[in-house]
C-alpha cells in the first residue's frame, strides 16, 4: 500500500527517528512506542539545541536593555515571532501574540474580545467536539455577562452537523469558536464552511488549532479566520509557549487583558499608554527560550515538509484503523470521513485505564481517559476511551505492537 501523495517523497522515518533523543529509550524493558502525540509530541534535537544555545549564548531580558545580550535575545525572540507569522501565513507579525499555550490564547480572546462586547442574551456558538479549553472560558464569559453558550451538534461518526450549525447562527451570535481538529476523535472540522457561514452573518470565528498545526499546513489568510490558537508542545516544540493569531483590526480594538511591564508605552499615575501590537497583549517577561524553541520546531517541521508528514500520517492512520478494527470486541469511536492521525477506541470488557497500564508495560504510551472532552464522551455513552495518536516518527511496526498488546489485554480480561 502506498498512500504517499503525488510529488511528495516518502519520509525516511528510520532516519528521522534519530533526530528525537527520547525515542531511543526502553520503557519497562521494551523499546518506547510513543503514541500519545495528541497530548504532547517529542522534541527533535534541533529544538533542544536551540533552547540550549539561547541559554548558553544570549539569555537576557527582551525589549529593555541596550547591552549586547539583551539585543541578541530580543532579535531572536522577534525572529521567532516572524517565523510563526510565516508558518501561519499571517499578514503581519503584529498579529502574532505569544501565550503560554492554546488555553491561554483562548482565555485572552474571552477576556479581551468577548467580555467587553457581549451582554445578556448574546450568544457564543461552539461545537460538541470541543476540548474543555474551548468550552470553559466561554462559560465563564457567559456567566460574567449573561450571554448564552450554544452548541452545534455532531453525528454518530463524530462529524459536525453543518446544517444545524448554520441554523444556530443567529443575529445574537457574537463569536463562533470551533476546533480545527478534534483531540478526542480526530475529526477535521469543515472550517472553511464554518468561517463562510459565520462571516455571512458578520460573526467572527476563533479556531482552536492545537491538533491541526502538527498535521497539515494551516494558512490563516486562506482560512480567513479571525483568531487562531495553537500550542508549541504539540508541534514538536517546548511546553509553556503557544500562539494566538488575531486579525490586526480586531486586536487593535481590544483592551489588554493583563497589565505590567512590556505592554505599556508610558506609565504615570495620571494614566497609562498601552504599547502597540502585539506587545499590548504580552505583559511581563515572556517565555523567550520557548518562543525560540518553537521557531526551531517550525523550522524542523517545514524542513521535513508538512505535506510529506501528512501523507505518512494518513498511511499510519489507515493502517492502524485496519489493524485495530480486526480485533474482536474493539470499537473505534470517531469515524469521520476526514480525520487527523489518531484513533480513539474502546474494548469490550477492558476499561481504557487498564488498557493504558497494560500497554505501558509493553513500552507503548497511549492516552486513556476523557481527553478533556467530557461532552464528547457523554455523546458516545462511554466514560473514557483509549487514544493512539501518531506523529511523523511513528512506524507501522509500532502500530503492530499496539494491536498485539490490545489483543493480549482483551484475552487477559476474558
Amino acid at each position: 500500500m502506498s498512500a504517499v501523495s503525488a510529488g511528495a517523497l516518502p519520509l525516511d522515518v528510520a532516519r528521522l527517528r534519530g533526530d528525537f533523543p527520547v525515542l531511543g529509550q526502553r520503557i519497562n524493558g521494551q523499546p518506547l512506542a510513543y503514541l500519545d502525540n495528541g497530548a504532547s509530541s517529542q522534541r527533535p534535537r534541533a529544538v533542544i539545541d536551540a533552547e540550549r544555545r539561547y541559554a548558553e549564548e544570549m539569555h537576557a531580558n527582551v525589549h529593555r536593555g541596550v547591552h549586547t545580550l539583551s539585543q541578541r535575545a530580543t532579535d531572536a525572540f522577534e525572529a521567532a515571532r516572524e517565523r510563526v507569522r510565516r508558518f501561519l501565513n499571517a499578514r503581519s507579525s503584529r498579529e502574532i501574540v505569544f501565550t503560554r499555550g492554546t488555553t491561554e490564547a483562548i482565555n485572552l480572546v474571552a477576556q479581551s474580545f468577548v467580555r467587553p462586547r457581549v451582554g445578556p442574551g448574546d450568544e457564543i456558538l461552539i461545537t460538541w467536539l470541543e476540548h474543555h479549553a474551548n468550552i470553559v472560558p466561554w462559560q465563564m464569559a457567559c456567566e460574567a455577562t449573561g450571554a448564552v453558550l450554544t452548541v452545534a451538534p455532531i453525528d454518530r461518526r463524530g462529524e459536525l452537523d453543518l446544517d444545524a450549525f448554520r441554523s444556530l447562527l443567529s443575529p445574537r451570535t457574537r463569536l463562533v469558536a470551533a476546533a480545527h481538529v478534534s483531540n478526542a476523535l480526530g475529526t477535521v472540522l469543515p472550517v472553511a464552511e464554518i468561517v463562510t457561514a459565520a462571516h455571512a452573518q458578520g460573526v467572527p470565528v476563533l479556531l482552536d488549532g492545537a491538533q491541526a498545526v502538527p498535521h497539515f499546513k494551516v494558512d490563516v489568510e486562506a482560512l480567513d479566520c479571525d483568531f487562531y490558537a495553537f500550542s508549541g508542545h504539540k508541534l514538536y516544540g517546548p511546553d509553556g509557549i503557544g500562539v494566538l493569531y488575531g486579525r490586526e483590526s480586531l486586536l487593535a480594538a481590544m483592551p489588554p487583558w493583563q497589565g505590567g511591564g512590556d505592554m505599556i508605552l508610558s506609565v504615570s499615575f495620571a494614566g497609562t499608554t498601552y504599547n502597540r501590537l502585539p506587545f499590548k497583549f504580552e505583559a511581563g517577561t515572556p517565555h523567550i527560550s520557548g518562543a525560540i524553541g518553537l521557531a526551531a520546531a517550525i523550522d524542523y517541521v517545514d524542513g521535513v515538509g508538512l505535506d510529506r508528514i501528512a501523507a505518512w500520517e494518513r498511511e499510519l492512520l489507515q493502517y492502524a484503523t485496519e489493524r485495530l478494527e480486526r480485533i474482536d470486541g474493539l470499537k473505534i469511536i470517531g469515524t469521520a470521513r476526514h480525520k487527523a492521525s489518531l484513533v480513539s477506541f474502546v474494548v469490550d470488557g477492558v476499561h481504557p485505564h487498564d488498557l493504558g497500564t497494560i500497554l505501558d508495560q509493553a513500552g507503548i504510551a497511549i492516552r486513556t481517559g476523557h481527553h478533556c472532552a467530557m461532552p464528547v464522551m457523554e455523546f458516545f455513552g462511554v466514560p473514557a476511551t483509549a487514544r493512539a495518536s501518531f506523529a511523523l516518527y511513528n512506524t507501522r511496526a509500532e502500530v503492530d505492537r499496539l494491536a498485539a498488546a490490545v489483543a493480549a489485554a482483551r484475552a487477559m480480561f476474558r
Binding site: 485505564h353 487498564d354 481517559g369
Partner: protein, 147 residues
C-alpha cells in the same frame, strides 16, 4: 513489575463478577465517588445497624482495579463495626502505598490488591471506594473526588 501481580486472578474475577453490585434504597446511606482522571464513578450504599455496617452495596463503572477493590471491600466490611472498617482501611492504605507494609492475615482477600503499589498511577483507583464508604457512613453528601 509484572502485570500478573497487578491483575491477580482474584482481581480479574471480582471485576468480571462484582459482588454486592447494585443499589440500596433510602434510608440506606449513599455517597458518590469520582476519579476525574480516568472517569471512574461509583456510588456506595450502606445501612447502619447501630454502630455496625449492615447491608453494603456499590454501583458504577470503572477500571478493573476500582471495581474489584469496591467488590472486595463490600465483602470485607459487611457486618463490621465502623471502627473495624476504619482499621481495615488503614491496613489497605498501607498495602497500597507502603512498600514495607506487612500483609496481616486480617486483610484476607483484600491482600490481592498488593500488586497495586508497584503502579503508583493506579493507587487512587483502589482507594476511591474506601473514601466513598467513609463519606457514606459519615452521611456526607458531597461527592468524593480523588483529585
Amino acid at each position: 513489575m509484572d502485570l500478573k501481580d497487578l491483575y491477580r486472578d482474584v482481581i480479574l474475577d471480582h471485576n468480571r463478577r462484582p459482588r454486592n453490585f447494585g443499589r440500596l434504597e433510602p434510608p440506606a446511606r449513599a455517597a458518590p465517588g469520582y476519579n476525574p482522571l480516568c472517569g471512574d464513578q461509583l456510588v456506595v450504599y450502606a445501612t447502619l445497624d447501630g454502630d455496625r455496617i449492615g447491608e453494603l452495596r456499590f454501583e458504577g463503572s470503572g477500571c478493573a482495579i476500582s471495581v474489584a477493590s469496591a467488590s472486595l471491600m463490600t465483602e470485607a466490611v459487611k457486618g463490621k463495626s465502623r471502627a473495624e472498617a476504619e482499621h481495615l482501611f488503614g491496613l489497605v492504605h498501607a498495602l497500597l502505598t507502603d512498600a514495607d507494609a506487612a500483609t496481616p492475615p486480617e486483610l484476607g482477600k483484600l491482600a490481592a490488591l498488593g500488586g497495586v503499589r508497584e503502579f503508583p498511577a493506579r493507587v487512587k483507583c483502589a482507594s476511591l471506594c474506601w473514601h466513598t464508604l467513609n463519606a457514606a457512613l459519615a452521611g456526607d453528601p458531597t461527592p468524593v473526588s480523588t483529585e
